[in-house]
C-alpha cells in the first residue's frame, strides 16, 4: 500500500489528527472499479468505503504487530486442550482442508476464460 500513498495533507492544527486527508494515486482502473462496485453494494460512497477499508486494515495490522499468536489463539488453544484431540487428528483435518483448497484451485485454473 505504501507505494500508492503519495501525499498526506492535514487540515487545521498540526497536532490534530482527526481531520487528516490522504491522497492516493496510482490505483489500477480495475481495482478502482471493484472498489466502487463494492461501495455501491455496501450502500456507501467510494470515499467512505475506502476510509473503512483503510481503518480496518490499520487496525488489523496493529493487532498483527502487537499481539503474539499465543494471545491471539488462546481461546482456540483452550478448546484444543480441553477437547482431548490428538495432533494426528489435526493433521487429518489439515490434509482434508488442503485437498479441498487444491481442488478449488485446479477447478478455478481449468475453468474456461470468458471472452472479452
Amino acid at each position: 500500500m505504501q507505494d500508492v500513498l503519495k501525499s498526506v495533507k492535514r487540515h487545521g492544527s498540526p497536532m490534530s489528527s482527526a481531520s487528516s486527508t490522504l491522497q492516493v494515486t496510482g490505483i489500477a482502473r480495475k481495482k478502482l472499479h471493484a472498489l466502487r462496485s463494492q461501495a455501491k453494494a455496501a450502500g456507501v460512497t467510494a470515499e467512505i468505503y475506502a476510509k473503512q477499508l483503510i481503518e480496518e486494515g490499520v487496525s488489523l495490522e496493529q493487532q498483527a504487530r502487537s499481539r503474539t499468536f499465543d494471545e491471539l489463539y488462546a481461546p482456540a488453544q483452550e478448546r484444543f486442550r480441553k477437547s482431548g484431540m490428538k495432533e494426528d487428528e489435526l493433521n487429518t483435518l489439515v490434509d482434508a482442508a488442503r485437498a479441498r483448497h487444491n481442488r478449488r484451485r485446479r477447478h478455478h485454473h481449468h475453468r474456461p476464460k470468458k471472452k472479452a
Binding site: L60, A64, F69, F80, S83, N91, L93, A97, H101
Partner: protein, 162 residues
C-alpha cells in the same frame, strides 16, 4: 551458537499445530519465529494455502474461534515476522503431490535452510532415488526436511528455544 540466519519453510500442518496446540514442538518453534530466532519464509501461494486451510469449513467447525478476522491478523503477523516473495521465480515439478510444489519452490526461491513438515513424501524426498529426489538434492543441496520435534532435538539448545 548458531547465528539467527536459519530460513525456514513451514508447512500448513506444522503451522496449524503451532497455533492451536500450545504445548507442541510446533508451537515452540512458532514462538521462536516470533522472537526472531529464525526467519519463516512465505510466498503468496503458501499464504493462500494457509488462509484457505484456516478458513476451511471443517476447521471452523472444530475451532469457531478461528474467525476470518483472526485469519487476516494471522496472515499479517506471519508477514510481519517473515520474509515474503510474492511468487518465487522458480519452478520445481513434483508430480507425487503437486500441492507440495509451492513449498519446494518457496524453499528454492528464498534460499531456505530447512523445511518443517510432517508429510512423509516431503520428509523422504532428500533421500529419494526418484527423479524428484535427485532434482531436490541438486536444487536444495543443503536443505534439511524434518519434523518439528526432530528440529527441536537437533537445534533447540543451540537456538535457545524454550
Amino acid at each position: 551458537m548458531l547465528q539467527p540466519s536459519l530460513r525456514i519453510v513451514i508447512d500448513t500442518n506444522t503451522l496449524l499445530r503451532g497455533l492451536v496446540s500450545a504445548s507442541s514442538a510446533a508451537a515452540r518453534i512458532r514462538r521462536a519465529a516470533e522472537q526472531r530466532v529464525f526467519i519463516p519464509l512465505l510466498s503468496k501461494p503458501v499464504l493462500d494455502e494457509y488462509r484457505a486451510v484456516l478458513l476451511d469449513e471443517a476447521i471452523a467447525k472444530r475451532f469457531p474461534e478461528i474467525t476470518p478476522e483472526l485469519v487476516e491478523v494471522t496472515i499479517r503477523r506471519l508477514r510481519f515476522i517473515g520474509d515474503y516473495s510474492r511468487q518465487p521465480n522458480t519452478r520445481f515439478r513434483y508430480e507425487r503431490d503437486e500441492s507440495d510444489q509451492r513449498f519446494l519452490e518457496l524453499a528454492i526461491g528464498l534460499k531456505a535452510t530447512h523445511i518443517l513438515s510432517s508429510d512423509k513424501d516431503l520428509l523422504s524426498l532428500p533421500q529419494s532415488q526418484t527423479d524428484a529426489g535427485r532434482r531436490f538434492r541438486q536444487r536444495l543441496p543443503d536443505v534439511e526436511v524434518m519434523e518439528a520435534g526432530d528440529f527441536l532435538r537437533k537445534y533447540g539448545n543451540a537456538l535457545a528455544i524454550q
